[in-house]
Symmetry: C2
Subunit: 120 residues, 2 copies
DNA sequence: GATAAATAGTATGTAATAGAAACCAAGTGT
DNA sequence: ACACTTGGTTTCTATTACATACTATTTATC
């Protein structure tokens, strides 16, 4: 966690470019806990509040980075599945850590926000 | 990691609202590994590429959530320090997990991006 | 077999946000 | 006195997000 080398800085920067936005992590959360492949509209419903345009942009971005895979479903011509790749599966650990933090400390954050209003 | 209850959904959502943007995590990374308080312009230099406006917005947001604390430095009238709070320190673990993932898998992501171009 | 609804998107216009640049007031260094 | 640093705010513009509408194909219903 020292960020000594050029390589490490480049690495964390590139990863944050992929994940540090409003939707990427929420999309991964939509797959948990089972991580089975999901179709476009089901994904849209699970994420909630995301528009089709933004979802398809995000899916393409995550596909380009090798974290998700787009597959046309066999049999049904009109049907596309998005599956988490093996690389994408390894993200479960850090996202899970964030998730656990959220469960443990959400109340503290909410309390801080509430008390900030009463101050000045 | 199951997102069964309403509370858990609310928790992860609120936490992502604080952290899932371009700058929040980068600001925390600027504190590591020592986590000593940093002044405004030093923070700006360490984060790199962030404008003053966005930095002050982010700092206020993180202060409201109780993750950072703003202090006018004693002695010098023109001097403000931003310190990580105890609550903010607990974020080190999940951010560190993300950091380790980045170091371990950045090459894979880059390779995927490179090969995606050559396909069509 | 016509009608309606779902799937997997794209196109378009608007609203919100990010970012660059200038500005400012106070303090410090030379 | 003059330039420079600090910690911002203001203003303007460019980018991005989002809602809405639209499409083409397919499945389900009457």
């Amino acid at each position: 966690m020292t960020a000594d080398t050029e390589d490490e800085l480049w690495a964390i920067d590139m990863v944050l470019n992929q994940l540090a936005d409003k939707w990427a992590i929420r999309i991964f959360c939509a797959y948990y806990p089972d991580m089975t492949p999901i179709r476009f509209n089901e994904l849209k419903r699970r994420v909630g509040g995301i528009s089709q345009k933004i979802l398809s942009q995000q899916l393409r971005k995550l596909e380009r980075s090798g974290l998700l895979e787009r597959r046309v479903m066999p049999g049904r011509l009109l049907g596309v599945e998005y599956a988490i790749t093996p690389l994408g599966r390894t993200l479960h650990e850090p996202i899970s850590a964030l998730y656990k933090w959220a469960e443990a400390h959400a109340d503290d954050v909410r309390a801080a926000q509430a008390s900030f209003q009463t101050e000045t």
